[in-house]
């Protein structure tokens, strides 16, 4: 008799899942010397499932009219720690879930699953659900994409931003034609209203700073093609890679910090080139008129409506509709962080994250991937450091560098141990510390290999000594050879 049948039928089954994951083979265990460049990375994962029946409070919450209400009511009753998921199995006949939907994923760390079919079917469905809400082999592989050889991954895998302790988000308004367009955008308000809630949620993952700028006379690198039929200008998909380069020079690097920058550009095309539309590979116009560049950011083209009368005085004042723009930029931001929603079977219903822009379980997903990536980064950094030490034998390792390396190794080990027991939050913190320590050790100015003389140069200085000394040695060697040869010949002569 299986577990399912023991429980009274119709009672919602509550099932709490601990994701257990173990990471090994990174070569970090033990001492630094064990690191080798060709580490095999492999990951095994384990789920710990705890089944229990619902409490009275949960029962009451599940009695709500719609799934959304039930999700909201269930939130305070769930295990709030990062990485834990709670799934409620509701009876097949329940009206909580809409027709045809058997799995509902809420905004928090909970999901509703319709019981149905055999227990095995339920089990596979639960497994599928846990993978959607935590991680799959492919999402972890994407996090490690820099360490996996080319060709094994799809094009999407390299889209995600690399894990970092912080990110800088820059919104730039490009106005190549300030003579005809005086463009204004209320970016401050838009950032506070739309971007900040998402970043507040993501603040657990990294530090974020947001700024914006307006660039005048910044043009795209491609001249758009005029299309007579629609009397508009078109940018085809294959020319998009050339668009960014000339703009990039104007964007300005972030001189004050070392964090990676995410650029979001709003391009208001020149009067002579508007309206401007972006075409996809099939030649159809892109509905959002925007595209993104992996690990770099996104560009949106914002067409200004032509004035009603051609005699309208220039410059034309334009107020940017920030809702439309931010919708696109936020979608791109999610894409760049790897929060895109994958293709799911039709019976799955995902609740939209609403104004927060990010569901709790999506945050967990990000944390899983980033923790693994951080540990891999630490391993790579320390391996390269060890390689450098192998190459230069007489390099001086200062005490503070050594202590940073020890700290990095200890933090990485503790991160792996925490991951193995499923403590996502502390594992992530430990992995962040490990990254900081290892980077600090690696980029220490005393470890510059140019500070040390290569051995061949040291040898070159002593050439004036070695060369004249070598001459008599070589001559006498030649003489010895000649003499032995002669001695061999002599006995035959004697005969």
């Amino acid at each position: 008799m299986t577990l399912w049948h023991v429980l009274p039928r119709g009672c919602p089954l509550c099932l709490s899942t601990w994701l257990l994951q173990r990471l090994w083979g990174l070569g970090l265990v033990g001492s630094l010397k064990l690191c080798s460049p060709a580490v095999r990375t492999s990951i095994t994962s384990r789920y710990e499932m705890v089944y229990r029946s619902t409490t009275a409070q949960e029962e009451a919450a599940l009695g709500a009219a719609t799934a959304q209400e039930a999700d909201a009511a269930l939130r305070p009753l769930q295990d709030a720690s990062l990485g834990a998921l709670t799934m409620y199995v509701v009876p097949e006949t329940s009206s909580l879930l809409p027709q045809g939907i058997s799995v509902y994923v809420g905004k928090h760390r909970g999901a509703l699953v319709r019981a149905g079919g055999s227990l095995a079917a339920l089990r596979t469905r639960l497994r599928q659900l846990t993978q959607v809400m935590s991680f799959t082999a492919s999402s972890i592989a994407a996090a490690l994409s820099d360490r996996v050889p080319d060709g094994q991954l799809g094009p999407d895998a390299r889209r995600h931003l690399k894990s970092s302790l912080g990110y800088e988000i820059t919104f730039s308004l490009l106005n190549p034609d300030p003579k005809s367009h005086a463009v204004d955008w209320d970016i401050e308000d838009a950032v506070n209203r739309y971007v900040q809630p998402v970043l507040d949620k993501l603040s657990l993952v990294a530090n974020f700073s947001v700024d914006s700028q307006i660039l005048y006379y910044a043009v795209l690198g491609v001249t758009p093609r005029f299309d007579k039929e629609s009397s508009s200008f078109l940018l085809s998909a294959h020319s998009l890679p050339h668009v960014i380069n000339p703009v990039e020079a104007r964007l300005g690097s972030s001189a004050a910090s070392l964090y990676p920058v995410l650029n979001f550009l709003l391009y208001v095309p020149e009067r002579s080139h508007s309206p401007l539309y972006i075409q996809d590979k099939d030649g159809a116009p892109v509905s959002t008129n925007a595209f993104h560049s992996p690990r770099w950011g996104g560009i949106m083209v914002y067409n200004v409506e032509a004035p009603a009368s051609p005699q309208a005085s220039l410059p034309l004042h334009v107020d940017v509709d920030m809702v439309r723009v931010m919708e696109v930029f936020l979608a791109q931001l999610r894409l760049l962080f790897g929060l895109s929603r994958e293709e799911l079977p039709p019976e799955f219903l995902l609740e939209s994250p609403g104004s927060e822009g990010l569901a709790h379980w999506e945050l967990d997903r990000l944390l899983w991937a980033h923790t693994v990536e951080n540990i891999a980064t630490v391993s790579t950094t320390l391996t390269s450091l060890a390689q450098l030490l192998d190459k230069i034998g007489n390099i001086v390792i200062k005490d503070d560098v050594a202590s940073e390396v020890y700290r990095a190794v200890a933090s990485a080990q503790s991160a792996m141990a925490k991951l193995a027991t499923g403590h996502l939050h502390s594992a992530f913190q430990a992995s962040k510390e490990a990254v900081t320590s290892s980077e600090r050790a690696f980029f220490d100015p005393s470890l510059l290999h140019l500070l040390y003389f290569p051995d061949d140069q040291k040898f070159a200085i002593y050439i004036p000594l070695f060369l004249p000394m070598a001459v008599p040695i070589l001559l006498s060697l030649a003489k010895i050879v000649r003499e032995t040869r002669q001695r061999k010949k002599e006995p035959t002569k004697m005969d």
Partner: protein, 538 residues
């Protein structure tokens, strides 16, 4: 109307609790500099990159002088905890932004002057511990510094006055100085809100006399090989001022074309000036012709076109012989006929010139002149330079000579520059003074006056602020023969190798007793001769 604090030079900060705005959304202000100011707690930043030296005696009072090379002075906000760390970081970032070697600014060339540099913008107080000042006289300024400077302009070099700035013309000149000044200012007269002001200045001296076959006529096209076609659409003011001040009232010596729409008269640096003004924003300017090419023609060849000698000017030189000691002499001229005024002199001397402070003498008109304020900070080897600040009273119509002797230090062999025989630069000394005006000055409205006069606004009607820089000095230090170690290595190695070779030969050679043979050619020749002489052969 009482002037706002910032409109006075050496503003001593009457405002308390000044909060500088933290900005993260930029419109016209360049983001790179804005982030820098915000991240490092900069209150005021002044960076100048200069090629050449402004010849005050022949060119007159400079509108805004800067010492040859790179000059950077920064006031930090009182909230900055570790000023030295912020200063180091700032110079490194600026070095990246402007492609200049500002990263060579370290404690050996940084000083904290106590009196010479006061905040030019709004300031809470003037605690000079928040100030850092450094000059790199070796820095060479060229195109790669101009391009990032132009990029800071909202219109770049695409529109407006900046289209004239083409590197191949600008660096073909006698003097080139580009500067960036960031300071907090009042947004309006009531001063309730504070704004950041970025002021970019460019001073170029073209020598049209030598390049134009002895003619002094010039035009925009001749100088820049370009003309002006429009104003930057973002500009609220875009004007060209041409100084057409008449030398003497009766004779009009010069003529500008096209005829200026307006003429502006002002007292700039104690001198009455007349400017022809071309407002690029006025639509009538480009009505008749599509581009503006300002031309200036002299009506008759001028024989004595000497500019009047400025009231305050200075020169400096190094004297002495040999490579052990020397003397730095500074001459400060006050040509004002009847007014005496004080001047603050700032000397920064690198540590490898060891100043003998007891030899400091200040002589005016044959008599010793006692400075009313002296601040001296001795150098520490490889740590910090000498800093000497003095407040000296200059009597009317006088020359003041300041001399100080020094000894040249021996450097470690790694401390020499790649071209040590070129010499070592000593940065310009700085003169700051409130110079009494010869003509009475009116209280001018700051809003109305042209931008180039408003960085150092005049304090009252009788004097104006001047900051002058003297020549940088080039001092030879005792320089070792850098090839010597290698020569020694070569010589000793050869000697050792030769000894080794002979010993080796001696030890490894086998000796045979050789049978006498018929002998060589010499022996046979000798025997033939002996035969002739009748002597028995060998």
């Amino acid at each position: 109307m009482p002037r706002p604090c910032w409109a006075r030079p050496w503003c001593d900060g009457g405002r308390q609790g000044l909060t500088l705005p933290a900005v993260s959304h930029y419109r016209l202000f360049p983001k790179a500099l804005g982030r820098l100011v915000a991240a490092l707690g900069v209150q005021e930043l002044h960076l100048a990159l200069t090629q050449g030296f402004w010849r005050t005696r022949t060119w007159g009072q400079p509108p805004l002088q800067a010492p040859a090379g790179a000059e950077l002075w920064v006031w930090f906000q009182p909230t900055v905890m570790d000023v030295d760390k912020a200063w180091k970081e700032l110079s490194n970032i600026l070095s990246g932004i402007f492609c200049a070697s500002l990263n060579f600014i370290d404690s050996t060339n940084t000083v904290t002057p106590t009196a010479s540099f006061k905040p030019l913008g709004l300031a809470n107080g003037t605690d000079h511990h928040l100030l850092r000042y450094a000059v790199l006289p070796r820095e060479v300024v060229c195109t790669e510094n101009l391009t990032p400077w132009k990029k800071l302009l909202p219109c770049g070099s695409k529109a407006g006055l900046a289209v004239l700035l083409k590197a191949e013309r600008l660096f073909h000149s006698s003097y080139h100085s580009q500067a960036v000044h960031i300071r907090p200012i009042c947004r309006d007269a009531s001063c309730l809100a504070v704004s950041w002001e970025l002021r970019q200045t460019l001073t170029v001296v073209f020598d049209t006399f030598s390049s134009g076959q002895g003619k002094k006529d010039w035009s925009l096209f001749k100088m820049f090989s370009r003309t002006l076609t429009d104003a930057c659409p973002l500009a609220s003011q875009s004007k060209v001022y041409v100084d057409i001040s008449p030398k003497n009232k009766e004779k009009e010596l010069l003529e500008v074309t096209p005829t200026p729409a307006s003429v502006y008269e002002a007292i700039v640096q104690g001198d009455k000036r007349t400017y022809a003004v071309y407002d690029l924003l006025s639509p009538s300017l480009f009505n008749t012709s599509r581009s503006l090419n300002v031309q200036l023609k002299w009506k008759r060849p001028q024989d004595s076109s000497e500019l009047p000698t400025p009231v305050l000017h200075a020169q400096r030189y190094v004297s002495g012989y040999g490579l052990q000691t020397g003397e730095i002499s500074t001459l400060i001229y006050n040509t004002h006929p009847y007014r005496a005024f004080p001047v603050i002199l700032l000397e920064t001397v690198p540590w490898y010139l060891r100043l003998y402070v007891h030899t400091l003498t200040i002589i005016t008109k044959g008599k010793e002149n006692k400075p009313s304020y002296i601040h001296y900070q001795p150098a520490q080897d490889r740590r910090r330079p000498h800093l000497l600040e003095m407040l000296i009273q200059l009597p009317a119509n006088s020359i003041t000579k300041i001399t100080i002797q020094f000894e040249r230090a021996l450097l470690k062999w790694t401390e020499y520059t790649p071209d040590p025989n070129h010499g070592f630069y000593v940065s310009s000394s700085v003169l700051s003074a409130l110079v009494p005006s010869v003509i009475a000055m009116k209280d001018v409205d700051v809003e109305q006056s042209p931008l180039f006069t408003s960085l150092f606004p005049s304090s009252d009607g009788s004097s104006y602020f001047v900051r002058l820089y003297t020549e940088p000095l080039l001092v030879n230090l005792p320089t070792p023969d850098f090839s010597m170690p290698y020569n020694v290595i070569c010589l000793t190695c050869t000697v050792v190798a030769v000894c080794y070779g002979s010993f080796y030969n001696l030890l490894t050679r086998t000796f045979h007793v050789e049978e006498p043979t018929r002998g060589g050619l010499a022996k046979r020749l000798a025997n033939i001769i002996r035969k002739f002489r009748g002597v028995p052969p060998l």
